[in-house]
């Protein structure tokens, strides 16, 4: 067991941190957020040049063959800077579907484009009534000759505003909540019959509501077995949870650091407020939560490429639940310790708090994952 980064990993971390320190401080981020798209194409290209888009893909597909540890390193850094570009949607979600579901031909066609920063992806899976249940799919795919015709509504499609291609899940057979009978279809965002309404999320990231009204999809755009897409979605969701956990660590690091700094510089009653023992202990609570969350994220990262679905899913339940709990504690206490100033848009800490909150609501909140873990018999059961 070894918790040190390799030399390559250290270089990756340092260069990304340097890039973001240089180009993505709080002021610059506010400016990017105010742009029409709400994210920066220039930064997108910079990430691609650094190889971030190619990172998790196999070398034979045109990627860099990175492991979940590399993704963890990147996501932590993106979390620390509250990056707005759709890396998670394109590389983790879209890339995950490509890696785990796509055929060799599909990978040969699309991985190089993603790796080069030329293609943005999204995963349209959540629906109005699905909440966090991955098997709940009402959108319908009807066979039409060799191809398929999709109809339905998808909600909160992360990065759906910017995506060139969207992976849409749809029911090819069975009832709304059946495990079998879910297909994944790669749809051009400009396809006829696809309408998207793009918007900003609470945390400044972007998403879209997507409606599909008789969108035709050729056979070549089906990902994997059109009756068994759920196992792919589950795998991608588990990797997404590991990645989001890592992002959350970056966010919590900043919540912690900003709060600590504030406690040291802010004076009240003639002393820095960090001299008050109650506030010290609350800062310690944040620190402990951060370190415990960091530990569970390491565990999730270790398990992210496990082929044992049961063990892997339990690990992700545990991680996402812990991240949700620790993140809420850290976020709420960070705001409380800042007092009124923490409530303002002008100050960074509130933005970290909002991102932390959004992460809890993405791919299942604390309660959802705790329930699932308990239903599965627990972590050691």
């Amino acid at each position: 067991m070894d918790f040190d980064l390799t030399e390559e990993q250290s270089i990756l971390k340092d260069s990304l941190d340097r890039l973001l320190a240089d180009k993505y401080d709080f002021e610059k981020r506010m400016k990017i957020m105010a742009q029409p798209d709400g994210w920066s194409g220039e930064m997108w290209n910079a990430y691609a040049e650094m190889g971030l888009m190619a990172l998790p893909f196999a070398e034979e597909d045109g990627g860099l063959g990175g492991s979940p540890v590399e993704t963890m390193i990147v996501m932590e850094a993106l979390g620390r800077a509250l990056v707005l570009e759709p890396y998670f949607a394109t590389v983790v979600l879209g890339g995950g579907v490509l890696r785990h579901g796509a055929s060799a031909e599909q990978r040969a066609e699309f991985v190089p484009l993603v790796a080069g920063g030329e293609l943005k992806l999204a995963l349209a899976h959540t629906e109005r009534n699905s909440r966090y249940d991955l098997n709940h799919v009402e959108t319908v795919a009807r066979r039409d000759g060799d191809g398929w015709v999709l109809s339905g509504q998808k909600s909160v499609v992360l990065g759906g505003d910017a995506a060139d291609h969207i992976f849409v899940t749809a029911r090819t057979a069975g009832d709304i909540r059946d495990m079998n009978g879910i297909g994944i279809f790669m749809v051009d965002a400009k396809a006829e019959g696809l309408a998207r309404r793009s918007y900003t999320n609470q945390d400044g990231t972007h998403a879209a509501e997507i409606s599909l009204d008789g969108v035709t999809v050729p056979a070549a755009s089906v990902i994997g077995d059109p009756g068994d897409g759920l196992s792919i979605i589950r795998r991608v969701a588990d990797e997404a949870i590991a990645a989001l956990s890592a992002e959350a660590i970056g966010v919590m690091e900043k919540l912690h650091a900003l709060t600590l700094e504030y406690l040291k510089v802010r004076k009240q009653f003639g002393v820095p407020i960090g001299a008050f023992q109650v506030l010290q202990h609350k800062a310690v609570d944040i620190f402990v939560a951060l370190e415990q969350a960091r530990s569970i994220t390491l565990y999730a990262t270790m398990m992210a490429d496990s082929d044992d679905e049961d063990e892997r899913s339990r690990a992700m339940n545990a991680a996402k639940a812990e991240i949700g709990r620790a993140g809420q504690l850290a976020g709420e206490n960070a705001i409380q310790l800042h007092g009124g100033v923490g409530m303002t848009m002008e100050y960074a800490v509130g933005h970290y708090f909002k991102r932390m909150t959004s992460i809890d609501l993405t791919f299942g909140d604390h309660d959802h994952h705790l329930r699932r873990l308990a239903e599965r018999g627990g972590l050691f059961g």
Binding site: D133, M343, M345, K354
Partner: protein
């Protein structure tokens, strides 16, 4: 010991309920149910309905328009108001500056200001907080220098709630820079239209504009707008802040919000059934309900104790419990409401910015996350919960 409402109290409650049912504008009620912000016109309209009925300033002395209700009836009135839900009277006039004026002001000030507060002819805002002061309110720096018949005021106030609507602001200003920090403060009433006043919005993390910065540059304030004695303003401020805590439990409002959570959780699905049937969810909700029921009784005990002592306006230090538990409960409910919406709480609905695009579905999800963000304030303002615990430790426990 009689732990139920008396028949007279129940009859009064029915009277209040009936009045609300007939008189609260439907749109106002709907906005409050959905957790949306009210605009100025909503507040003015409703206050005048109340004032016509003679209920706009229930706890004031009858000579200034009060109702003569005992504390229990005042409690019932506010409880029913919040629960309906209808807007509570604007606190800056009715609960803050009004009582200061009728307690410490001169006859002319009473005649000039009190009726206009009751009718919301004047919208008041509060000029206490300053940048960098926080819980150490008395460290304020805004100065007022006497110049003939006027004070010349320079300084900056912050966290000024709804100053964008305000006609008047009541300010703590430093009139003696040599004295100890609590002893050189005066209480001034300032017309917001006076030259030299600038209001800048503070946008909060929920995207709302509730609070502002107020800059005062060479603002000329007539000396007749001084309340009470020069350099005694801290006493009046303490009196005012004491009043502020009495309504902070907000039991009625929390009951209304819980009903809303229950209603929406019956619509939203989780694991193939309504979320309200999920054991964890419903137990969390019930746990808050229990806390709230206990708080309601705690509030009633404080009210009853007030009634016995006579309503001095000085709160029982135990009322800090109301602030602590009240804010925990309110925050817990906003978190639950956001959880109900799940992923649909993520989109930011720009309704308050006046967008005319149709809302992202479901429309009632829009206020869930902003409500959670916004309510972090309730454990911060009015003396943070940490300060409240300090107060209890010192004043009640003698530590």
């Amino acid at each position: 010991m009689e732990l139920r409402f008396t028949p007279e109290e129940l009859a009064f409650r029915d009277e209040v309920r009936a009045f609300f049912a007939e008189n609260v504008p439907d749109e106002t009620r709907a906005k409050m149910s959905e957790g949306e912000h009210l605009d100025k016109d909503d507040m003015v309209e409703w206050t005048r309905i109340l004032n016509d009925k003679g209920w706009a300033v229930p706890h004031w002395p009858e000579e200034y328009g009060g109702t003569g209700w005992d504390p229990m009836r005042q409690y019932i009135f506010l409880e029913e108001l919040q629960r309906y839900p209808a807007p509570s009277p604007l606190p800056f006039g009715v609960n803050m500056v009004g009582p200061v004026i009728y307690t410490f002001g001169n006859e002319e000030q009473k005649k000039r200001f009190l009726p206009r507060i009751a009718n919301l002819d004047d919208w008041w805002c509060q000029g206490f907080s300053e940048p960098g002061a926080g819980s150490d309110l008395a460290s304020l720096k805004t100065r007022a220098v006497r110049d003939g018949d006027h004070y010349i005021v320079n300084g900056q106030k912050t966290w000024t709630t709804l100053a964008q609507y305000a006609d008047w602001i009541f300010c703590l200003v430093r009139t003696d820079t040599e004295a100890k920090k609590q002893e050189g403060i005066s209480f001034l009433l300032i017309d917001m239209n006076t030259p030299g006043i600038e209001v800048r919005p503070i946008i909060t993390i929920d995207g709302g504009r509730e609070v502002n910065e107020v800059f005062l540059t060479d603002v000329k304030v007539p000396v007749e707008n001084l309340v009470g004695q020069e350099n005694k303003g801290w006493d009046y401020a303490k009196f005012l802040l004491g009043n502020e805590r009495t309504n902070i439990a907000r039991v009625g409002m929390s009951k209304q919000r819980i009903a809303r959570v229950r209603e929406l959780a019956a619509k939203e699905m989780s694991g193939g059934r309504p979320l309200i049937e999920d054991p964890r969810f419903r137990e969390k909700l019930s746990s808050i309900e229990i806390d709230l029921k206990a708080l309601e009784l705690t509030q009633l005990r404080v009210v009853a104790a007030d009634a016995k002592r006579g309503n001095t306006g000085r709160p029982d230090p135990a009322s800090s419990i109301l602030k602590i538990k009240g804010s925990e409960i309110q925050q817990g409910i906003t978190h639950l409401l956001m959880q109900v919406m799940g992923p649909h709480a993520l989109p930011y609905h720009e309704d308050i910015e006046g967008s005319n695009e149709p809302p992202i579905e479901p429309d009632y999800a829009g206020s869930a996350a902003p409500g959670y963000f916004n309510y972090r304030k309730v454990s911060i303002y009015g003396g943070s919960n940490e300060i409240q615990k300090n107060i209890i430790a010192k004043a009640v426990l003698g530590l």
